[in-house]
Symmetry: C2
Subunit: 438 residues, 2 copies
């Protein structure tokens, strides 16, 4: 007889085992704490929104990927990012907020992408955005790299580069070459230079009908090499006469100046003129972040400055700057490479094991005492062989086991076993607490 339903999970939906979930949760919490360190306020918008609201701006690929359905007569969609819900929230609650509004949100978003290795249809985004009311100082653009720096340091990484560019510089350059009408296409093509190489970019730019001279100018420009100051000098010395270009260079110089004041060490950030960000809506500073030991992951934290967050909902001008970490994909990739820098590997600090049913009462008392001392404590109550109990501790990475039998009960000296070294020692309850807390 087999009338059972197969207990399967949808492809493209991450479902971690508890040991991996512990590591995932630690990363998520680290990111949240880092965002809070810089004063970002939490928001938790619904996963479901009116389709009309969510798709006010969307089009093309986004619409195709969206999870959209009706409940009764209501046309609903699952959020596909956290920016549109933020725009809705700020537009709807403008009068209730104090600006600049700095919010973080960490939550699941949904995109019905073609399922493939490492691509998820449900995934966590970890976003921060700073939204100004009418205007927003460029100093905020400098805060962002300092937040990225702090966040990835806290995540345990010490070899990464935050790459910074400014869309105005590129657009100013295109304008100076009389190529403004091609700006979007050129940005889209340049954005791929790391992936497809210079030759392919040259080829694609040619298909736009741009002159060979201009193409070489653009390619030479985005490949300008050197450290931060050398690049800034080069930008100033090129003699490009264009107000947008100059505005961009000035903004970029300010951002660099403030980044230094914020204490981001040299070597952790750089100017990278290749960075364009495919998405249309960035208008100034743009960011990408690379783990240098895992460069093939691509950017692990990206974002930029935009002129107007919520133009589809309100006439108010709401400029902003923000970034996003795609945590689900990042976790998957790092975990595949054994590159998660988790310091927490288990929930329980200790497993209390009564040898027999007679030892349960004493075990409960010991467990309660340990928990009072803020030690996460599991107990194994079930009737089972000691081997099975040890396997349980092992399976869930519990570092210590406290064994309580007749001898322990009578002497009030409990056997503590270090699961890694195998070492055992007999300790009083107070010694137990001290030892486990170490």
């Amino acid at each position: 007889m087999n009338d059972k339903v197969e207990p399967k999970t949808l492809p493209g939906f991450m479902e971690l085992n508890p040991n991996d979930q512990v590591k995932f949760d630690q990363m998520k919490e680290t990111i949240a704490k880092s965002y809070e360190r810089f004063g970002f306020l939490p928001l938790d918008t619904p996963v479901i929104e009116y389709s009309e609201v969510l798709l006010a701006k969307a089009g093309g690929e986004t619409e195709k990927q969206i999870y959209r359905f009706k409940k009764g007569d209501t046309d609903l969609s699952l959020r596909f990012d956290l920016t549109v819900p933020l725009a809705k929230y700020v537009a709807a609650n403008h009068n209730e907020l104090a600006f600049p509004f700095k919010r973080y949100q960490i939550g699941k978003v949904y995109r019905g992408e073609k399922a493939q290795q490492g691509r998820y249809r449900e995934f966590y985004q970890c976003d921060i955005d700073i939204i100004g009311d009418g205007s927003l100082s460029v100093i905020n653009d400098a805060q962002i790299p300092s937040i990225i720096y702090n966040t990835f340091k806290e995540l345990g990484f010490d070899n990464f580069t935050i790459c910074i560019n400014n869309r105005k510089i590129l657009n100013g350059l295109f304008s100076s070459l009389n190529l403004s009408e091609f700006a979007t296409d050129i940005l889209r093509i340049i954005d791929k230079i790391e992936k497809i190489g210079v030759e392919a970019v040259r080829g694609e730019l040619e298909t736009l009908g741009i002159s060979k001279d201009s193409i070489e100018t653009i390619i030479n420009f985005v490949l300008i090499d050197g450290n931060v100051d050398e690049k800034l000098s080069a930008l100033n010395e090129l003699g490009i006469e264009n107000s947008l270009y100059n505005e961009g260079v000035n903004e970029l110089s300010s951002v660099v100046e403030y980044i230094r004041l914020l204490g981001v060490p040299e070597g952790f950030f750089n100017v990278d003129l290749k960075i364009a960000r495919g998405l249309d809506y960035y208008t100034g500073t743009v960011y990408e972040t690379f783990l240098n030991d895992f460069r093939k992951l691509g950017s692990v934290c990206s974002g930029g400055r935009f002129d107007n967050l919520a133009e589809y909902y309100t006439d108010k001008k709401l400029p902003g700057v923000g970034i996003s970490i795609g945590l689900t994909r990042l976790f998957y990739q790092l975990n595949q490479m054994n590159a998660i820098k988790a310091t927490r590997t288990s929930i329980s600090d200790v497993l209390v094991i009564p040898m027999s049913q007679e030892d349960v009462a004493e075990s409960l008392k010991v467990a309660s005492k340990l928990r009072e001392e803020k030690i996460n404590t599991d107990i194994f109550f079930e009737d089972a062989k000691m081997k099975k109990k040890m396997k349980y501790a092992d399976k869930w990475n519990i570092p210590f086991v406290v064994i309580i039998g007749e001898e322990e009960r009578k002497s009030s000296l409990y056997t503590l076993k270090d699961m890694e070294s195998g070492e055992q020692r007999k300790l009083t309850i107070d010694e137990l607490v001290k030892f486990i807390k170490l």
Copy 2:
């Protein structure tokens, strides 16, 4: 011109302002930490599942309320609780787990209920379950109240009662009265006694065609009064000869004995024979929890023992015991009554305010230093009147403001303002750190 989309949120979907979200998040984190204190492992199953999997067991009301839709040819549903996904997970990963499997999950679930005040269509459940492989010791049933006790204490409550009953006792009683065929109906009716009163319960029982004598026996039984020990004595002295009844009384006595060993103080738990839990699947111990100062909220944490978690997916017998806190509704109600015991009311510990653009550099340095000391620090960069900057601190409940102007820059003595008392003092950076950390 008005081609704007109205930025509205769906009714029945909670969207808190950041100040409330801080309180909500603190409650959520407190619950998670309490669950971890007892060794429960985290799980984060998808929000979307195959309808076939999610609805294997469902029926009636649940099916009607579910958010169900197609993406391509795939029939999908949003989870309506966290128990069914757990059943799926355990059935699918049985060989990979060590039992008893103790998991917690805190996540949003979806029910398309009629929208009304305090009823949510998207809401957080905070669940723990202990799942045995084939069998599960009754001591686990005693651990649950100790977890409830710890959790609500940590949430800041000190006047609540965990009410415990055992379905076997009631079912044994019904059997001894030859009323087994009516058991489900009687349980359903008794469950409402607090809400509708004794008279109404009597009336409803009469419509089942039960004899007046039996009805009085049942009502007198569930209303047995006294403290824990008095009730247990009464249960033993009633002379009811029924094996299920006796099994239930023995289990309940054991649970009480172990609860005491686990250190739950008298007065925080009691036996309540009225508690039946409407849901069918509980088979032994059942729990409800009442905040005695807010009794009208009903039970804020309920659950019980069940024989078989995943029978729709596997032949394996997986008995379990668990509870759930409906956090969204609980938060809404407590917040309405100003009864949230949040100790955290702001994200930022301090707001740094440069008096003018000349003071920004110094302000960035001070902010970086504070953040290094793990102090959550916001900075107000925008050009604005001091009044507006103070309003910002006020709006987001930031307790301290550090003002940095020319004088402060020159003296390296920074003005700290206590936003509550209005007091100001001039402090060095080290004194600032110490003062804010207090």
